[in-house]
């Protein structure tokens, strides 16, 4: 493959790495500051909105970026470095050595980040549900009637794709015949309880969307990058 082709594939791969908290691709968020592809060698630089962004989330993004790039055919050497962060040195060294989070902070960390990641995947799934249902309600659906819907009843949309992807990541029912409104464990929500579930889902959505806006704004302030901070929603 040519270097250009590899570059495009690497960029696509990085686009599948999401900030676990904001649930958006690191490429869209402007976190990928530099990407160099030379033959089979790839070097990427990541930067975050603040010096004190949570080290656990930072670690996940660096590690995920390495995994994503490594999976691209034709790539043999990968170096991903986090810059301008209070724990950059430990994170970079830990990820490069494949030490895991606990291995990168041997004195401090109490364990790996799987549970943290799962928590935020659950939140992302809940927010997706809020977005999908918001649209249905705007189209005139009655709230309790949503309890009878299946994933297949959703029109094709980016929101539906996102919802299905989150379900798959969490190991929740994601086939077309799976119920639309489910709880964190994939159990269907009964009519009468749908409003409550969606009310909470909305708070999750507001929280995640708002935080993403805050982080984009801070990144722009910090680096003067041309990130889009226009208000949406």
């Amino acid at each position: 493959m040519t270097t250009t082709a590899v570059s495009a594939e690497v960029w696509d791969a990085l686009g599948r790495v999401r900030d676990p908290e904001l649930d958006e691709p690191i490429t869209d968020l402007g976190f990928v500051h530099e990407l160099t592809v030379a033959g089979s060698e790839v070097r990427a630089r990541l930067r975050l909105p603040t010096y004190f962004c949570a080290p656990n989330f930072a670690y996940l993004m660096v590690a995920d970026a390495v995994d994503a790039i490594r999976a691209v055919p034709g790539v043999e050497t990968v170096e991903v470095r986090l810059e301008d962060h209070f724990a950059a040195e430990e994170i970079n060294a830990g990820v490069a050595a494949g030490a895991g989070f606990a291995g990168s902070f041997p004195a401090e960390a109490a364990g790996e980040l799987d549970e943290l990641r799962r928590t935020f995947r659950r939140k992302a799934h809940t927010a997706c549900l809020a977005r999908v249902c918001r649209r249905l309600l705007a189209e005139g659906w009655q709230v309790d009637a949503l309890a009878g819907l299946r994933l297949a009843d959703l029109p094709e949309s980016v929101e539906r794709e996102s919802l299905v992807r989150r379900r798959e990541e969490l190991g929740l029912p994601a086939t077309p015949d799976a119920p639309l409104v489910v709880d964190d464990d994939g159990r269907p929500v009964v009519p009468g309880k749908v409003a409550e579930r969606l009310r909470f889902a909305q708070a999750v959505r507001v929280s995640i969307d708002g935080n993403a806006g805050f982080c984009r704004g801070l990144l722009k302030t910090r680096y003067g990058a041309s990130n889009n901070t226009e208000e949406r929603g």
Partner: protein
Amino acid sequence: MYTKDGETYFVVDSHVHAWDGSPANQANRYGKGFIECFYDYHRSLSPEGWVWPLEKFEKYSDETLVRDLFDEGYVDKAIFQPTYLTDFYVNGFNTTEQDGRVAEKYPGKFIVNGSFDPRDGESGLDALEMLAHRWNLKGVKLYTAEWKGISKGWKLSDPWAYRYLEKCEELGIRNIHVHKGPTIYPLNRDAFDVADVDDAATAFPDLRFIIEHCGLPRLEDFCWIATQEPNVYGGLAVAMPFIHTRPRYFAQVLGELLYWLDENRLTFASDYAIWHPKWLVEKFVDFQIPEDMQAEYGVLTPEIKKKILGLNAAKLYDLDVPDAAKVREEPADSGAAVGSAPAVPA
């Protein structure tokens, strides 16, 4: 006080600082990074014309602080919330003593809050008692995510934390401000996890737990707890400035808070010197929920604004409020029960 359109607002700024983040006081790169991070918050969300040079932001004079809050910012009473960070700053970033010195220089203007760390054990209990007597403490500010030696944070539900909360009850310290928000990081735990507040609030029903930054960006977790615990409050520091840069987001946050809690448990704060109370107060009094969101969130009345801007905090700290700024006392009503709202999520 602030008066607009015939309404008078008593203003309590529930979260202010007199810090020293200057290079001379920075102990290491963390101290430098910390104040620069604050400075980016300041630059990112302040309106044009309200941004200071970094040097001024790092360390401002007592005169500047008092002028900004009380002469220009409409503030009637300001509450100092200490932020020690003794690992980052030679003399600490913003200690109770630093705050207390300013408060004594300008009597009647400030409330001085203290702090404790349950990992200090027995000796810390004595220190808290001394601090309480010296500064007549009615409140404390806590950082559960702060590192200390090999410990990477603590929980309000830890046995030692309960000892300290019992001590607070004994000393008449009823306002427990808990920082759940950015910039102080636990390592692998979630810095914003508010689950421990739930346990402590149940165990200490006579204490009030004011969650600074209202759990943002974990608004939903905070709301969920606050709905169930009547002694949990939301401090609006950091949420407020979005009123300028992202008014629709601000409306949603406030709307969610009013839905899940109620108008009696939210307190205004500038987080000075990160933001200036003058523009925050002016914009808040002028603010209304955008029309297309009103079906869901309702509207903000002058009464709601009066409570948030000062009356709620005045109750927590037993402050006298001039008659002109009072609102009619209503029976406490926490609003509709969760899940019983009109079933039309936006």
